[in-house]
Amino acid sequence: MSEINPQDPQRPQPAAASVPASGWAIELEKINKRFGPVHANKDIDLKIERGTIHGIVGENGAGKSTLMSILYGFYTADSGTIRVNGEVHAITDSRHALALGIGMVHQHFMLVDNFSVLENVILGAEDSGLLKPSLDRARKELDRLETEYDLEVNPDAIVEDISVGQQQRVEILKALYRGAETLILDEPTGVLTPKEADDLFRVLETLRAQGKTVILITHKLREIMAITDNVSVMRQGEMVATVKTAETSPEQLAELMVGRRVLLRIDKGEAHPGKTLLEVQNLVVADDLGIVRVKDVSFSVRAGEIVGIAGVSGNGQSELLESVTGMRDQRSGNVVLNGNPLSLKGDDGAARARAAGLAHVPEDRQRMGLVTSFSEWENSILGYHETPTYGTGPLLDIAAAKREAAERIKTFDVRPADINLKGSLFSGGNQQKIVLAREMERNPDVLVVGQPTRGVDIGAIEFIHNQIIKMRDAGKAILLVSVELDEIRSLADRILVMFDGQIVGEADPATATEGELGLMMAGVTDRKAAE
């Protein structure tokens, strides 16, 4: 193994040949990565012991996936060193990582849907120009791997016909076929049913028993506690702790994950809830791929209260928001606005929701809330361009729209205060203010807000929070969805926690602790009952 020049990006021999029995499989030292202004990884140090399952937890955007993508060669680190089996390597691309025995199972599978399992396994790792020998070898090898790791898959099945859990097995088999000694799994249970997740854990345990190293990225503490040997916690691009799983508790991890951030104090009076304005009844919603994301959710929001939905992103909040605001058809259940059920059929449900008095500040303003190529004033009428405010008949009263935009840009202190500037040229905070101004200044009955302060600077956060409180005090029903726990805690009058498409609990922000909420967000709900 000493012949290999550590700096040589050319294919070294598979690590399998020279794996010592114990020690560090992976050592990361002072890894830094920036994406423009975002410092995604700050001086990360991490050591992964061979033959263990090592968990990495952290909130969304904590930098877990970036770090693993660097290890897998998908990104290149700005600085820092990577040691694989004690040797320094500059991993230049995924192929290099594979050659070093590092395999990755991506959150979104890298499979060709209309290929057979076998074809997917050999893609990019074929032995020769003709497929037959590769396919034959792969079939034998899969047979062996399947029995060795208890990973049963029909090699001739077409990928789009098999379940998501099976597809994940194909990804694992792909990595093992390429000689992976270290396997990275990025949020592997996000798409799995509980049964499938249990099966996966059994497989991971087998892998460990066979001497493989597993890195498990997740935000679910239950999984960490159930299966890992060691766990590292990341927060805001930094590695805050690495502990032995046996010596920690979910409470401690939740605290490390969320951090002891200073709660923004908001002057907020008592809520005086009035009549129910928004009611969600047994709502079931599927995403674009047909996977059910919202599973029988019911709740109501009354005038003059803020109901906050907490949860780690990807647990059905987006689909819930889209359905409540008329953008997404429901499988079953109802959304009732002001006592009238909202029809979600067709692709213009959002117009009906607005007509019924609902305003919507979307989660993703770049993709939804704004047309970035439009000027500020054009963006300030998005969704309201059919209203009489902007003229009668088919013509758009541009002068009226501009006048109004000019006023609002002042009220909401959007900078620069130029109504002719393109949407893309405003900063995140100012873009959000444009959206908020548009949605709040129309006196809606119900305001639905998703991630109001995502990517927004501190100064604007306070302003945005105060505006939301003002709306509540004016007697509006407000539904707030945010992955920022402190935001929910400081704004909401009631907190609903969403996990895996369901509302798993309700809490009073005045009494609930961060730990309790963190556990619920991580899907640990039966803990109290168990104790």
Partner: protein, 376 residues
């Protein structure tokens, strides 16, 4: 971090198309040079052939009329994110509407015939584009493929109609009966002597009006707002409660109706009967015109005039340089489409970098932005 700052508006609207045009001219010039002719002589022949006298200008304007209509048709669809490659077929089928109504009413007066024929052209062209629009909106078939197929179906349909249905007894060629004198659209030459013997007719005013109306439609109506929203960001359109499927169908219909106006010009104003292939690829020129004109009516007007001049000047070229003719214009047109439509990436990044380097203002701004971001 990868996104460079967008170009200043003027560079986007004027500089880039002009650069692409210059490149297209350069390459065409090389082709001319290659066959041993002087490209500058050819160029001058085109210019004088297009604008040298009233007769030339009349022809230039006649071509431009068609190109305005098809350019607008392509541009309107493009604003909605749709690529209507079927303007040719839509214009062709619209000819049916024009000839049927014109032959029915031609005993009366052109002032009666014209509006009816115009509506018929819009209707026939619109329906021919609505079907692909419907299939895209409701059945998910790609509008590009469908409109290509509809071009060929239109060609077969029209050959049949001309040979079997519209051909009067005693005529041998595949063409319809002539429209009576009274029902024909007056030519501008009747009122303005320099345009005598040229086909330019009153439809050019319809074309100019269409430029204005499309401008208003796109930038001053609720419909246009919805259209541009869909074209720029279909998800935002859905967020705004705009029905994308309805918009696709309406947009394609309007686009087809605009393309249909070519038939109004050709059949009622120029040929005065329906003949085979009267559209003469105006639909494809429309793609070049729309790309060159940046989908803006003013740009389309100018680009249509440019291509009208190239077509007319190209016709005259053969009298100046023996052997050189309009096909050289087809080459220029193809290169314009290639450079402005498919190889936008050729100049844009370089220009953006250039502007970032040389503009003091944006440099200061960029510096400021980066410092603000890194502090927070």
């Amino acid at each position: 971090m990868s996104a460079l700052r967008p170009l200043p508006r003027w560079a986007d609207i004027a500089l880039l198309p002009v650069l692409n045009l210059i490149l297209a001219f350069l390459i065409s010039g090389l082709v001319v040079l290659m066959i041993g002719q002087n490209p500058f002589v050819a160029m001058w022949a085109i210019v004088t052939g297009a604008f040298g006298n009233g007769y030339n200008i009349g022809y230039t304007l006649y071509y431009a009329t068609n190109f305005i209509f098809t350019g607008l048709a392509v541009a309107l669809a493009a604003h909605g994110g749709l690529f209507n490659i079927g303007a040719n077929g839509q214009a062709y089928v619209a000819g049916l509407g024009v000839i049927v109504t014109a032959l029915a009413l031609d005993q009366t007066h052109w002032l009666i015939v014209a509006p009816v024929a115009m509506l018929a052209a819009a209707l026939f062209g619109g329906v021919w584009a609505f079907v692909p629009g419907y299939l895209q909106a409701k059945r998910g078939s790609h509008v590009v493929i469908t409109t290509i197929m509809f071009n060929f179906i239109a060609a077969a349909l029209m050959i049949y109609m001309l040979n079997r249905v519209l051909k009067p007894a005693g005529v041998s060629g595949p063409e319809s009966a002539m429209i009576e004198e009274a029902g024909r659209m007056p030519k501008l030459g009747q009122f303005f002597a320099p345009f005598n013997y040229t086909p330019v007719n009153f439809s050019i005013f319809v074309a100019l009006l269409a430029l204005v109306l499309v401008y208003i439609l796109i930038w001053h109506t609720r419909f246009g707002y919805s259209l541009r929203t869909m074209g720029a960001n279909p998800t935002a359109a859905r967020y705004a409660g705009i029905s994308n499927s309805r918009m696709i169908m309406i947009t394609m219909t309007l686009s087809g109706a605009l393309a249909g106006m070519v038939a109004f010009n050709e059949v009622l104003g120029v040929q005065n009967r329906l003949v085979l292939d009267f559209v003469a690829d105006a639909g494809f020129v429309g793609i070049a015109v729309a790309l060159m004109g940046r989908n803006h009516p003013i740009g389309i007007g100018l680009a249509a005039l440019l291509f009208g001049a190239l077509y007319q000047g190209g016709n005259e070229l053969q009298y100046v340089i023996s052997g050189l003719d309009r096909t050289v214009v087809v080459i220029i047109q193809a290169l314009v489409i290639l450079f402005t439509g498919a190889m936008e990436g050729l100049f844009r990044p370089g220009l953006q970098r250039g502007f970032a380097l040389f503009s003091q203002e944006s440099r200061a701004e960029a510096l400021e932005r980066s410092t603000v971001k890194s502090e927070s």
